[in-house]
Amino acid sequence: MIKIANLKISFGDHEVLRGIDLTIEKGQVMVIIGPSGSGKTTLLRSINLLEYPTEGILSIGNSRLDFTPQTKPNATDILAFRRQTGMVFQSYNLFPHRTALQNVMEGQVIVQKKSKAEARIKSMELLRKVGLEDKADSYPHQLSGGQQQRVGIARAMGIDPALLLFDEPTSALDPELVGDVLKVIKELAGEGMTMVIVTHEMKFARDVADQVVFMDNGVIIEQGSPGQVIDRPTHERTRLFLSRLNDSVVQNQKI
């Protein structure tokens, strides 16, 4: 189980997350939606400790990090926490000097100290899972965006995270490549992977989410099942956000 309590984060005077509380059960998929600038990326980045919270508690399994304005956890604890979470970036961020296979192996060999042979077997398995077995020896620049993103997913899975984080994994992709990536994520969900996904793909959210969270302006406005939040939102701001999203989808389809 992953618990986030009273999580706050400020950049200078600007408080971007203003007290977030979330609980993610093992095997659950949580989808986070919300307008631009609401703090979705910042929330994911702080769970992955790429950004340090100014205040709050993060806990996953047995490890727990306490942040207060005066103190932050030591580097060892932060590293140990981070190693239990995997991150899939909006812009993939693959290592350009490594092949697809090497990208997936890297964390296993360098961080987990697995032998290369062992890491290779596991990485090939993961590449097969994301449908890229035949691209193992390609460099990132030789892959399409969708393929790169699937390597990104395999890389994040490689370190056996207890929680996998996705920040708009398909928003940099051409529309025809989105499906392959979403399919991989759905399969992971089917296998019981615990995930937090930021996305604007509402149909996908409805299919995959156990919980949908609507965020605005650094706070959670409402959360519940996809049916509750997407189909019958109780808050005006959620309704407004969803109707705008609908308009833009309809507009895109017209174009």
Binding site: L50, M87, L94, P96
Partner: protein, 225 residues
């Protein structure tokens, strides 16, 4: 053929081997040794400049400031002619190596620092996200990419250094330029002999350029650009 032309050709032929020898015995080792030491110095200085440790950072900054801000020839004079007056006497070859290494270290550190800074934040974050420490991220992710970026400017430095070793002539090093001077004193054909030395420098620098090109090629395989 006129006598004059014949004489020039003969001088050219007779001088070629002595000049080449001076190049192989002094110019080349001076270049390679100084570059190797200078590169190590440059790397450490770049890391110091990027560290959060203020003292280390300050020392690195000061070093680069002094060396970049004063003439290389003057630095060689200080090492070779100046230091003996406080009891430090260093032979010409090691003096030259010290002077050139320190110079490469200062200029090179800026190249390496810029190359490291040119690698986007996303790469650091990707490395952290798979659990790497800062030093693992630097070694496995940032430096290999920074290496690619820094090959062309470092190649430039190496070729500059090759030519700058001629400055060592003034601290009594019998390298190529000094050899050309010596032969000129015998035959009084400065145009011919200095041009001939220039030709050999050109030969050496062409070899270095080719090495650089090959190194760049090797890096191309992982880069779309």
């Amino acid at each position: 053929m006129s006598d004059r032309t014949e004489r020039l050709i003969q001088i050219f032929i007779d001088s070629f081997l002595p000049l080449l020898k001076a190049g192989v015995a002094f110019t080349i080792p001076l270049t390679l040794i100084s570059f190797a030491i200078g590169f190590a110095l440059a790397f450490l200085t770049a890391l110091a400049r990027l560290s959060n440790w203020k003292v280390l950072n300050g020392i690195a900054r000061f070093y680069v400031w002094v060396i970049r801000g004063t003439p290389l020839l003057l630095q060689l004079f200080i090492i070779f002619f100046g230091l003996p007056s406080i009891g430090i006497v260093i032979d010409a070859f090691p003096s030259a190596v010290i002077g050139f290494s320190i110079s490469v270290g200062a200029y090179g550190s800026e190249i390496i620092r810029a190359a490291i800074l040119s690698i986007g934040k996303g790469q650091w974050e990707a490395a952290y996200s798979v659990g790497m420490t800062r030093s693992q991220a630097l070694r496995r992710v940032i430096l290999p990419q920074a290496a690619r970026v820094s090959v062309p400017p470092l190649g430039n430095s190496l070729i500059s250094l090759l030519k700058d070793t001629s400055l060592a002539a003034v601290i009594t090093m019998p390298e190529m330029l000094q050899k050309a001077q010596q032969i000129t004193a015998v035959y009084y054909e400065p145009l011919l002999l200095y041009s001939e030395a220039g030709l050999i420098y050109l030969l050496f620098s062409t070899v270095l350029s080719n090495l650089q090109r090959r190194l760049e090629k090797r890096f191309e395989r992982f880069s779309a650009r």
